[in-house]
Amino acid sequence: MAEKKATREAYGKVLKELAAENKDLIVMDADLSGSTKSGEFAKVCPERFFNMGIAEQDLYGAAAGLALSGKTVCASTFSMFASGRAYEIIRNTIGYTGANVKVCATHAGITVGEDGASHQTFEDISLMRNIPGMVVVNPSDAVSAEILLKKVIAMKGPAYVRLGRAAVPVTYAEDADLEIGKGNLLRNGDDITVIATGIMVNEAIMAADELAKENIDVRIIDIHTIKPIDEEIIIKAAEETGAVVTAEEHSVIGGLGSAVAEVIVKNCPVKMAMVGQNDVFGESGKPDELKKKYHMTADDIVAAVKKLKK
C-alpha cells in the first residue's frame, strides 16, 4: 500500500527546511497557518512570519510590498480566497509588477470535502493561468510537491502553487527529475494518452492499470506545470497516440483540459475528452464520496478513454 501524504504537508516541510538558510524568505498567511502548514515556518522563524488575519486582499498587497523590497515571499490561504477574493490584487500588484510572491494556495478542488461548495475551488487554475507571467504548478503528490516548491521558491517572479487538503498516494521517488515547465512521462503507451494534473495523476495510473487488462495501452503524462505548459510532450502524445483524455480536480472550463486543447488544436488536432468538475458547484461529503459523485475518479477516466476509442 503506497504511503499517503497531503501536498500541503510538503509545503510546511519545505518552509521549515528553508527557514534557516534563506534569510530573505518571508512567509505570510490569513489566519489559516495551521491548515496551510505555513505555521511550520512560524514555529522556527517567527520574526519572518506575518499573519495578516482574515484579510486576503491585504495579505497579497503586503506580500507584494515585501517582495518589492527584495524579499522572497510565500503567502498562503485557501485557494478560494487566494484565487478568488484576492484575484485582482494578485493580477495587478503581483502579476503586473512581477513581484517575487509565491501564492501557495491549499485546499483546492473537491477534496476539501466537508466544508462544502463555498470552499471547493474549481476555477483557480483557469484564473491564475490567465495572468501574464504567472507560473502555475499543481503537484500530484507530496514528493513532487517538495521538489517543485523548492524550485518555485528559488526562481524569481510570481507563481501560483496549488496544494490539497487530503492525503494522497506518493508516486514519485525522492530523487525524481522534475523541472518547472516540463511534463513527466510516467508511462509510455501507444493507444491513447491520459494527461493529468494534481490528484488525478494517481487516478490516471489506476485507470491505466485497469485499461491494460483490456489490452488498451495508455500513455500517462503528469502536467504539474500548467503554465508554462510543456507543448512538446503534448504534441508528441497527440501525434503518436491519436487521442487525448485530460483529467483534473478542477472545472472542465479553462483549466488543464483547455490548456492542453489549446496546444493540440493548434498543432495536431485529435479528439479529446475532459474529466473534471462539470460546471456545477460541489457540496459537503467525504473526499472519496465526492470524487465519485462528481466524476473525478479512475473509473471516470476509464469510461472517457473507452468512449473516445469507440
Partner: protein
C-alpha cells in the same frame, strides 16, 4: 488634531529646506505641468492631480529623503501614489525634481511612453509600485514598512490616497494591519477634496469623519489645509516623531485647485481641457503655451 495653531510656524517641524515662496512656485509649476501634460494627452485626471500639488511639493522638495540621480538609493523614503490616476501630479513633481526632463511630460499616456496612464514601475525609475486599481497602496506600504524594519532600513513609506478611494475595504484591512504591526514608519496622506467621479463623497458614499475613523483604528492623525505647504510640512515632520503607530494626514484640499473652472467641479476628475480651456488655464497659472 488640527494643525493650525497647534504645532504652527516657529516650531522645529516648520523648518523648510527651501524658502516658502520658492516652494509655492514649485507647486504652481506642478500645476502648469499637470494641465500641459493632460492637454497634450487629450485625457487624464486633472482635478485630483491639481488638488495634490502642494502635497507633492512638500514630499518631493522638502520632506522625503530621495535622490533623483539614484532612484534605488538604499535607505531612501518611498512614495506610493495609491490614487494612481493622479499621476500627472507625480510625474510633474518628479520632472521638476530632476528624475527626467520636463519635455517628456508631453508624452503622457501616449503609445510607448514611460509615463503610462497609471504609474508603471518598470517603465519609469522612481515609481515604487505600479498602481491604478484603488485601495491597494496602503497594503503595499505595510509590506514595505515591514521589510524596512526587518532590514533596519530608516526609510519611511509615504502614501497618497483619494477620499473616494478609502471606500475600498482593502484600505481598512491595511489600516488595521499597520496598527497591529506598530508600523510607525508609515505616513498616509488622504487628499480630502470632497469629490469623486459621481459627485460629492457625501452624496455617493459618505466617508467623513475620516480622522475619527482612522484614530478609532489607533492611528495618529493630523488634519490640515492640504493646499498649505507649510502646514503639510509641519505635519509630515511631526509624524516622524510618533512612535509605535502610523500617522494619517487628512489634507483638506480643493479639487482642481488653481484652475478656476475646475475648482470643486466633480466633472473635471477625468477629463482633459480643450484648446480654449487650456489657454485659459495657462493664463490663470501664468504658464507659457
Amino acid at each position: 488634531m488640527k494643525l493650525k495653531g497647534e504645532y504652527g510656524a516657529g516650531s522645529a517641524a516648520s523648518k523648510t529646506k527651501m524658502e516658502l515662496g520658492e516652494l509655492k512656485k514649485v507647486a504652481n509649476d506642478i500645476r502648469i505641468d499637470i494641465i500641459k501634460s493632460v492637454h497634450a494627452a487629450g485625457s487624464g485626471h486633472p482635478g485630483g492631480s491639481l488638488s495634490a500639488a502642494e502635497i507633492m511639493t512638500a514630499l518631493y522638495f522638502d520632506v522625503m529623503n530621495i535622490d533623483p540621480q539614484d532612484p534605488m538609493m538604499k535607505g531612501r523614503d518611498k512614495f506610493i501614489l495609491s490614487k494612481g490616476h493622479a499621476n500627472p501630479a507625480l510625474y510633474a513633481a518628479m520632472a521638476e525634481r530632476g528624475y527626467f526632463d520636463r519635455n517628456e511630460l508631453l508624452t503622457l499616456r501616449k503609445l510607448g511612453s514611460r509615463l503610462q496612464g497609471h504609474p508603471n514601475m518598470h517603465r519609469l525609475p522612481g515609481i515604487e509600485v505600479s498602481t491604478g486599481s484603488l485601495g491597494q497602496g496602503l497594503s503595499v506600504a505595510v509590506g514595505m514598512a515591514l521589510a524596512n524594519r526587518l532590514d533596519d532600513d530608516p526609510g519611511r513609506i509615504y502614501t497618497l490616497h483619494g477620499d473616494g478611494e478609502i471606500q475600498e475595504g482593502m484600505f481598512w484591512e491595511a489600516a488595521m494591519a499597520a496598527i497591529h504591526y506598530k508600523l510607525d514608519n508609515i505616513t498616509a496622506i488622504i487628499d480630502w477634496n470632497g469629490l469623486q467621479i459621481d459627485g460629492k463623497n457625501d452624496d455617493v458614499m459618505k466617508v467623513a469623519p475620516i480622522a475619527d475613523k482612522l484614530s478609532g483604528f489607533g492611528w495618529n492623525t493630523f488634519e490640515c489645509d492640504g493646499n498649505d505647504i507649510e502646514d503639510l510640512i509641519i505635519a509630515m515632520n511631526q509624524a516622524k516623531n510618533i512612535k509605535d503607530r502610523p500617522t494619517a494626514i487628512i489634507a483638506k484640499t480643493v479639487k482642481g485647485k488653481g484652475v478656476s473652472y475646475m475648482e470643486n467641479v466633480a466633472g473635471w476628475h477625468g477629463k482633459a481641457p480643450d484648446d480654449e480651456l487650456y489657454e485659459q488655464a495657462m493664463k490663470e497659472l501664468g504658464g507659457e503655451l
